[in-house]
């Protein structure tokens, strides 16, 4: 695995596009997770109030709720991180360097491992940055800073990590099939932001069919990934309006997402074995 990651690192460390995309993602993640206080200040300046409560005193950065709040927000921008994976995979296909690497002496399995190591690296760095920015915001605004609160609910950070990994594997699979990076990016966005959400929403909420179909939506790939960090309509911020929220990831939600990850890996392996790499 170290050999595989070193190979990937040699390819990326001098690649400006990679650093720009990665930096943009981390910036987007930081803004969306830590920008909440500015949003609340803005609400206050507009004279908004929640039943007489000043919005800026909402404890959105309190430990441990901050983890669930940040993760739910950060998952809105997850599609951006997959661009790095798509560009990296499509470079190998369009420059024919995958073929050259294999000829020079790696196996197709090593190629898969090197890209997997990239994905794990990206997901780990993003999760760590989320953790770091959460700590900073927490220490600035949290009303409680006891260690037992800080380190509670870490499952959400793990869920975020898994979501990024599975989503990147999904993008990797698409990039293997659609060999043009631009087109692969468009399809990834269309499928994950438009097609599947529409289909799953219909299946889940359409009055005439939901009794029969609501049970199967949890098996859809994007749906299962999003369930890890909360769907759009499962905002953890509803708790500040005294509504009940879903405050944990169920065991089968972990399993389905991991299952999709494994399935994407199998698919990529299969396509690598099957496809002839021609000059």
């Amino acid at each position: 695995m170290i050999r595989a990651f070193t190979l990937e690192w040699l390819k990326l460390k001098h690649y400006r596009v990679f650093w720009i995309l990665f930096g943009l993602y981390l910036l987007a993640q930081l803004i969306i997770t830590n920008g909440g206080i500015f949003f609340l200040e803005w609400l206050k300046s507009k004279g908004a109030d929640f039943d007489g409560i000043d919005p800026t005193i909402l404890p959105i950065y309190d430990f441990p709720d901050i983890w669930q709040n940040s993760v739910w927000l950060a998952s809105f921008v997850k599609v951006l991180i997959s661009f790095i994976v798509i560009v990296s995979v499509n470079n190998e296909l369009s420059y024919n360097t995958l073929r050259q690497n294999i000829i020079d002496g790696i196996s197709k399995r090593e190629f898969l491992l090197s890209k997997l190591s990239l994905i794990l690296f990206l997901a780990a760095v993003c999760t760590l940055v989320l953790f770091g920015s959460g700590l900073v915001a927490g220490f600035m605004y949290s009303h409680v800073t006891d260690l037992k609160y800080i380190f509670a609910d870490f499952g959400f950070l793990l869920a975020y990590f898994l979501q990024l990994v599975v989503f990147c594997l999904f993008a990797f699979s698409l990039a293997m099939v659609i060999k043009k990076a631009g087109f692969a990016i468009v399809i990834t966005m269309l499928y994950s932001l438009v097609f599947e959400p529409i289909v799953t929403s219909i299946l889940e909420f359409a009055p005439f069919t939901r009794d029969y179909t609501a049970g199967i939506v949890k098996f859809f790939p994007i749906y299962s990934m999003e369930k890890l960090c909360g769907k759009v309509y499962e905002s953890p911020f509803a708790r500040y309006l005294f509504q009940e929220i879903k405050d944990s990831v169920y065991w089968y939600e972990w399993l389905i997402a991991i299952g999709w990850g494994a399935l994407f890996m199998l698919f990529i392996t299969w396509i690598l074995q099957k496809r002839d790499l021609k000059a």
Partner: protein, 297 residues
């Protein structure tokens, strides 16, 4: 120990059989040419033994059956188009190759000097001309000092100077006792550098053998003298002559068995004619190639 042993290797693309039941053995130290017209299955064969094209059936083994990935690390390959990361420099690209081949990065500078790219080593690959790109793939192939070199149409797209350089390089490397496998459709090229060769057509091996066996002297001798008419006349008296043909500016004499060019020379001298040209004709691979193709029609 054979470097490469191919056993009944077959590749089908749909209805088309690109390589058909190919058997081939390449021994250490050979400079082996795979000859064939365009589309005869040369590149597909190389692709299969390098595991970028999946064989339909059959198998092969490198170095007596070691792991294929490990074997490829010991082979320097130059394929038709140079493939590198366009956004990286020559040095950065070679570091990747060194990592894959598990060899030292110390030789990078030395090898870049050898292929005349040292001055441009910190420029991005995308700024290189075709010739420079090809020299970089040469550098990549030589970086690990591999015992086997594999070349696919090595002189394709090179200028005459480049072609001469590559040929000299192949000879130099072969002189070190290394094995070279090259695919080419240029007969002349194979004749000039190879020790052994095979001919493929439509994926079928038509012939296999050593280059020296197939070449050699013919019974034709090209002669010429200052006074061509006198020569033509007097040579009719030479009893070792089978026939004579006039060519532009010289004569082609075909000798009967048992006669050689020195007999002919002596005869002419005795007749009082000094030959200005006396060239025994050797066989060319081209003639033999066409003959083999014809025989198999």
């Amino acid at each position: 120990m054979s470097v490469l042993k191919i056993n009944k290797l077959t590749k089908r693309f749909g209805k088309l059989t690109a390589v058909d039941q190919l058997d081939l053995t390449i021994e250490q130290g050979q400079v082996y040419g795979i000859l064939g017209p365009n589309g005869s299955g040369k590149t597909t064969t190389l692709g299969m033994i390098l595991e970028v094209v999946a064989p339909t059936s059959g198998n092969f083994e490198w170095f007596g059956g070691i792991d294929n990935v490990e074997a490829r690390q010991k082979i320097g390959s130059i394929l038709e188009t140079p493939c590198f990361y366009s956004y990286l420099t020559a040095t950065q690209n070679l570091r990747i190759v060194a990592h894959i081949k598990k060899c030292d990065t110390k030789r990078i500078d030395e090898i870049l000097k050898q292929v005349n790219l040292y001055e441009r080593r910190n420029d991005k690959f995308k700024t290189y001309s075709l010739g420079m790109k090809q020299r970089l793939s040469l550098a990549a192939a030589l970086l690990s000092d591999p015992p086997v070199l594999m070349l696919d149409e090595p002189t394709n797209g090179l200028d005459p100077e480049g072609i001469a350089e590559v040929r000299q390089l192949i000879r130099d490397i072969a002189a070190q006792g290394k094995t070279i496998i090259m695919a080419s459709h240029l007969l002349d090229e194979v004749q000039k550098v190879c020790t052994d060769f095979c001919i493929l057509r439509k994926g079928v091996k038509l012939h296999e053998g050593s280059v020296n066996d197939i070449l050699g002297e013919t019974n034709a001798v090209e002669i010429s003298a200052a006074d061509l008419d006198t020569l033509t006349e007097s040579i009719q008296g030479y009893n070792g002559l089978e026939k004579i043909e006039k060519q532009n500016g010289s004569l082609m004499a075909y000798l009967k068995e048992g006669n050689s060019s020195d007999h002919l020379n002596k005869f002419c001298f005795d007749q009082g004619i000094a030959l200005s040209k006396l060239i025994p004709q050797s066989k060319s691979l081209e003639q033999e190639f066409l003959k083999i193709l014809k025989e198999n029609d």
